[in-house]
Every structure is written in structure tokens, then in C-alpha cells.
């Protein structure tokens, strides 16, 4: 809760500073020339929302230190990369590496995409502590969330209906879950949408038949995390990629960045940047 509120406050302060700053456009123009940014005093990020969220987490610090406004469009990895290729954004936020045909198009446009790993997005499936299930496979999770399985006994549990919890559209957690678990399979229409990790955690804690997912950093003893494909979520299994519900989050720039853009994409390596990443449920890449 404190974390959510502090984040809301940060955005609020950011908005206030933003309105002050936009009044002074002339100085900013000189700065843009030396920083190599697409737009005057902005870093424009486009792409996957889970990586875009990290850009938003860093935004306030760069507004304070450099007077730079960070704008994030939540599209997807592919659109972010083409945004970079056609010089419509400064940072492509992606959940995967560049494909060959994207690299070819970039070269034909004279653009040299350089990846920067900013964090690992790991989510954890959670159930009520009284649930007898200890682990699920990705396939079982998909069938639970698509509505093919509607009773815990179908996955070896008790004869109780399964209550499905999900996060709202636009959350990085939901995006990661959708991409890794669901793919093109649509979610059951019976799923209940909650609006942050805390709400999922407390609903799980008071609902014996519920299943949900939260960011790795939000696990506590009020819920029981499940092994996935037999693998537990630990910093080791997340970093070595063996834990299935995890993936690296990247920011791509055109060429090696310098100045404020370099500090921005490398902010996750600083003490402040790592703290912001971890406090919001991500795993630091370093």
C-alpha cells in the first residue's frame, strides 16, 4: 500500500513539475541538440507496457535532475522497435530481443538498435495457504484461466470451484502473464479484475478457492506461491531463466546512447534505480 501511494504521489509531483517546465521551452531546445533526443526536452518511450512501466518509475528522477519529461506509449515490443527504426521514439521498451527482419529494416533506415537489459519481470502464481495444490504446469494454468478447468479437483485438488483473479489491462504483470501463459488463448469471461498486487494478495488470503498472480517482490506469508513446471521462483532461477514465468525487460536505443539518454537506460544499475525496480516487484538484472 505504502508503495502504491508513494508511486501515486510521485506521479502527482511529476505532473506539477511538468506544467512548470513546459512554460520554459527555449532553453530546452539547446539541450535537445546536445542530447540527441527525438523531441525537445522529452524522452519518448514506446513498446511493451511492462518495460514501459520501468521508464515511468524512473521518470520523476529525470524530471528533477535534468528537466526531462518521459512519455510512454504502451503498445507492444514490435511497435516500439518500429518506432525506434523510424525515429519516432528514443527508447523502444521490449520484452524480447530484436528479430532479424527488424534488424534488416533498421539497417536500411540507418538505425543501429542497441539493447539494454533494465530488469527481469517475474510473476508468481499464488493461492490461499489452505489450498492443497503445491504446483501447476504452464499448461494447467492456461486451462484454468481459459475456463477449461473450473474445479480444483481437475488439477488434483479438492472438489471446489476455482475463483480466477487477474490484474487490470495495462499492468505489466497482466502483460507478462498474457504473453507467457495465455498466448492467443482468450481468458475466461468469469475472471475477476483487481487493480494492484496488494488487492490480489488480500483477496487470495480471504478466498480459499482463488488463484491469482503477483509480482515476485510482493510475496508474503499471507499467500502460498506455487511452483511452476516444478520450479520455484528464486533470484537464481529467475536470473538463469529456468523459472518459466519470468523474462528480461529491455530498452533499445539507436546507437550507443550518451548524455541523459545513456543515464536513463543505465539508471537500473544505480542504487536509486535498483531500489525503484525492486520496490515495484521487479527483479534487478545485475
Amino acid at each position: 500500500m505504502t508503495r502504491t501511494i508513494s508511486f501515486i504521489k510521485r506521479i502527482g509531483i511529476g505532473a506539477a513539475l511538468f506544467s512548470i517546465f513546459t512554460a520554459g521551452g527555449v532553453d530546452a531546445r539547446n539541450k535537445a541538440i546536445t542530447s540527441g533526443l527525438v523531441s525537445d526536452n522529452k524522452i519518448i518511450a514506446d513498446g511493451a507496457s511492462s518495460a514501459g512501466l520501468i521508464a515511468n518509475l524512473f521518470a520523476l528522477d529525470f524530471l528533477k535532475s535534468d528537466g526531462i519529461v518521459v512519455r510512454v506509449n504502451e503498445s507492444d515490443s514490435e511497435r516500439g522497435l518500429y518506432g525506434l527504426i523510424y525515429k519516432n521514439c528514443d527508447v523502444a521498451t521490449t520484452t524480447r530481443l530484436l528479430h532479424d527482419q527488424e534488424l534488416a529494416e533498421a539497417r536500411s533506415q540507418g538505425v543501429n538498435p542497441v539493447p539494454h537489459t533494465v530488469a527481469l519481470g517475474a510473476i508468481v502464481m499464488v493461492v490461499h495457504p489452505g489450498n492443497s495444490i503445491k504446483e501447476l504446469s504452464i499448461d494447467q494454468i492456461r486451462k484454468i484461466y481459459s475456463g477449461a478447468y473450473t474445479n480444483w479437483k481437475e488439477v488434483g485438488g479438492k472438489d471446489h470451484p476455482i475463483v480466477l483473479l487477474q490484474r487490470e489491462q495495462g499492468s505489466g504483470t497482466e502483460e507478462t502473464f498474457g504473453d507467457i501463459v495465455m498466448g492467443k488463448t482468450p481468458l475466461s469471461m468469469k475472471v475477476i479484475t483487481l487493480f494492484n498486487n496488494r488487492e490480489i494478495r488480500s483477496r487470495i488470503n480471504e478466498t480459499p478457492n482463488a488463484i491469482g498472480y503477483i509480482g515476485h517482490g510482493w510475496i508474503d506469508s499471507s499467500v502460498r506461491p506455487l511452483l511452476v513446471n516444478g520450479i520455484d521462483h528464486t533470484p537464481v532461477t529467475i536470473k538463469d531463466g529456468s523459472y518459466p514465468l519470468s523474462r528480461p525487460l529491455y530498452m533499445y536505443t539507436n546507437g550507443k546512447p550518451f548524455g541523459v539518454l545513456q543515464r536513463f537506460v543505465e539508471y537500473s544499475k544505480t542504487y536509486e534505480g535498483q531500489r525503484a525496480v525492486i520496490e515495484n516487484g521487479y527483479v534487478s538484472a545485475d
Partner: protein, 294 residues
């Protein structure tokens, strides 16, 4: 700009209110009985919240009204931006208080609602209209929906393909989460993907500014944002006006609906009817929507 900032401030204020409210959770727990009593009266799914699920365009209106209801009733409005269908099923399975949609309910959805003992009741909250805009010096006098789709799909890349001068078309679009972008995609693009070359800007003001400074650009804005720095294009030969929007002859138009389970009472009724009050209608027109007079 002023409007954007005022919205930002509104959101900020509501965030501050929200944090005040939620730091008072312990006190609120003591007053559980009061809350429960209120919930029973209002018929809301969660204690002191109105949960909205469905189309982002209509969800935006719920967000615009949110601060007022936080102030008057201590009610927090939570909006999930999914789509009309998911919003309706969420209402049917009693997972939200309001389904926010851009279309009336379908017959098979109504049948499922009946099976679940839910009675969806429709409330029209506003008209939404988007306007295609170009630089004032652009010689074009209108476009068809089909031409606009082909422009944004990247099939037409030069104004000469539409009877204009031999200049490349610069495509502007709004960010994915905006209602304007959703309306544009639904009415104009359908399943055609937008060209990867489209430039994403983040509000109506930015689109207007970029159009005014880019002779070859085309973009779309909410109707409330038009000024003389841009030229508006009739679509399929119909110009936008309150009349053509309300009689639905203007093509880039749609109605925005909120659905409740049964006729709402108490705060939920005031919420879905807020668009009929002078305050609600002012908020709507300030944000580019057109109020519906029921």
C-alpha cells in the same frame, strides 16, 4: 494545455484524496458496520468502490466523474480498460458495478445475463466524435472512411494518391490507451493494422501543434479541441456538427453507454445519471465529448 493541466491536477488531487482515504483504513475498519450498511443500501460489489469494466472511451468518462464522487460520497471509482464485451460479461458475472461500452448489448449476452439472474439496464452517457485534421494549407476538402483507412494502413503514402500535391503523408496517431485512438481503430481501421510509421503523440494539444507545424501531416482529435490552427476534413462528405453527430450521420461518431444490473439506486444511480447534471455536462464538453440530453 489548460485543459490537460486541469485534468492532471484533478487526477493528482484525487490521488491525494485517495491516499488520505486509504491511510484511514484502520479507522474505516472500526466503522465496518457503517460501510456495510452503506454497501447494502447502494448495492455496490465492493465496500466503498464503484468498479467499472469495459471500453476505455466510456471508462474515461467514469474517471472524469470520479473526483466528484470521491468528494461527495467517499466513493473510489476503479476503471479496468478492457473492451465492451468483457465489460458486459463482467457485469453478468457480478464482477463489476458498471459495464462501460461503445455499443448496445447483444442478444446472446442478454440471454446469458438472464441465465445468471442479471438484468442489464442501459444508460447513454455521451456522444463521442473524432475529427480528422490536416494543415490549413492542405488542398484536400474531404476524405472517405475507406481513404482514411488506406492512409493509416500505409497503402496510400503520398497526398498525390488522393488528389493532393506530390508530398509524402505524415501519419499522426494517439497513444494506445486513449479513447480517441480506440474510437479511430474501431470505426476506421477495423482489423487493418496501423502503419508502423505512424507517429504517436500523447494528447489532443500535441496533435494540433504538430499538425499546425507540419504541412504534410494528418491526425485525429476530439471534437472539443478544434481551433483555427488546423483544417478539419468532412468524412464521406459529412461535416461534423452537433446536428450530424446527434443524428448519427457523421461517420466518426458513436454513443457511449454505461450498463448496470437493474435500475440503479443511491450513489450508483447518481453516478450513471451524472452526465445529465450541469456539472457532468460541463466536464464532458471540457473533455471533448458531447453530452446526451435524455
Amino acid at each position: 494545455m489548460k485543459r490537460t493541466i486541469s485534468i492532471v491536477k484533478k487526477v493528482f488531487k484525487s490521488a491525494a484524496f485517495f491516499s488520505l482515504l486509504s491511510t484511514g483504513t484502520v479507522a474505516a475498519h472500526g466503522a465496518d458496520a457503517v460501510l456495510t450498511a452503506r454497501t447494502l443500501q447502494t448495492g455496490l460489489i465492493a465496500d466503498n468502490k464503484i468498479i467499472v469494466d469495459g471500453s476505455p472511451s466510456t471508462g474515461l468518462i467514469a474517471n472524469i466523474f470520479a473526483l466528484e464522487f470521491l468528494k461527495t460520497d467517499g466513493i473510489v471509482v476503479k476503471v479496468n480498460e478492457s473492451d465492451s464485451e468483457r465489460g458486459i460479461y463482467s457485469l453478468i458475472y457480478k464482477n463489476c458495478d458498471i459495464a462501460s461500452t461503445t455499443r448496445p448489448i447483444h442478444a446472446h449476452e442478454l440471454a446469458e445475463a438472464k441465465r445468471e439472474g442479471v438484468k442489464p439496464v442501459q444508460h447513454i452517457v455521451a456522444h463521442d466524435a473524432i475529427i480528422m485534421v490536416v494543415h490549413p494549407a492542405n488542398s484536400l476538402s474531404g476524405l472517405t472512411l475507406d481513404q482514411i483507412r488506406n492512409i493509416y494502413a500505409g497503402t496510400y503514402t503520398n497526398w498525390s494518391q488522393l488528389g493532393g500535391p506530390n508530398r509524402p503523408i505524415v501519419l499522426l496517431q494517439r497513444e494506445n490507451a486513449s479513447g480517441t485512438q480506440e474510437t479511430f481503430r474501431d470505426i476506421v481501421m477495423g482489423k487493418s493494422p496501423i502503419s508502423m510509421r505512424a507517429i504517436t503523440l500523447f494528447n489532443n494539444r500535441e496533435i494540433i501543434g504538430r499538425i499546425a507545424s507540419t504541412p504534410n501531416a494528418i491526425g485525429m482529435i476530439g471534437r472539443g479541441w478544434i481551433d483555427n490552427s488546423v483544417k478539419t476534413l468532412p468524412v464521406n462528405g459529412v461535416d461534423h456538427s452537433p446536428k450530424t453527430i446527434k443524428d448519427e450521420s457523421y461517420p466518426l461518431h458513436r454513443l457511449l453507454y454505461m450498463y448496470t444490473n437493474g435500475h440503479p439506486t443511491g450513489v450508483l444511480k447518481r453516478f450513471v445519471d451524472y452526465s445529465l447534471t450541469p456539472e457532468g455536462q460541463r466536464s464532458l464538453s471540457e473533455n471533448g465529448f458531447i453530452a446526451e440530453n435524455r
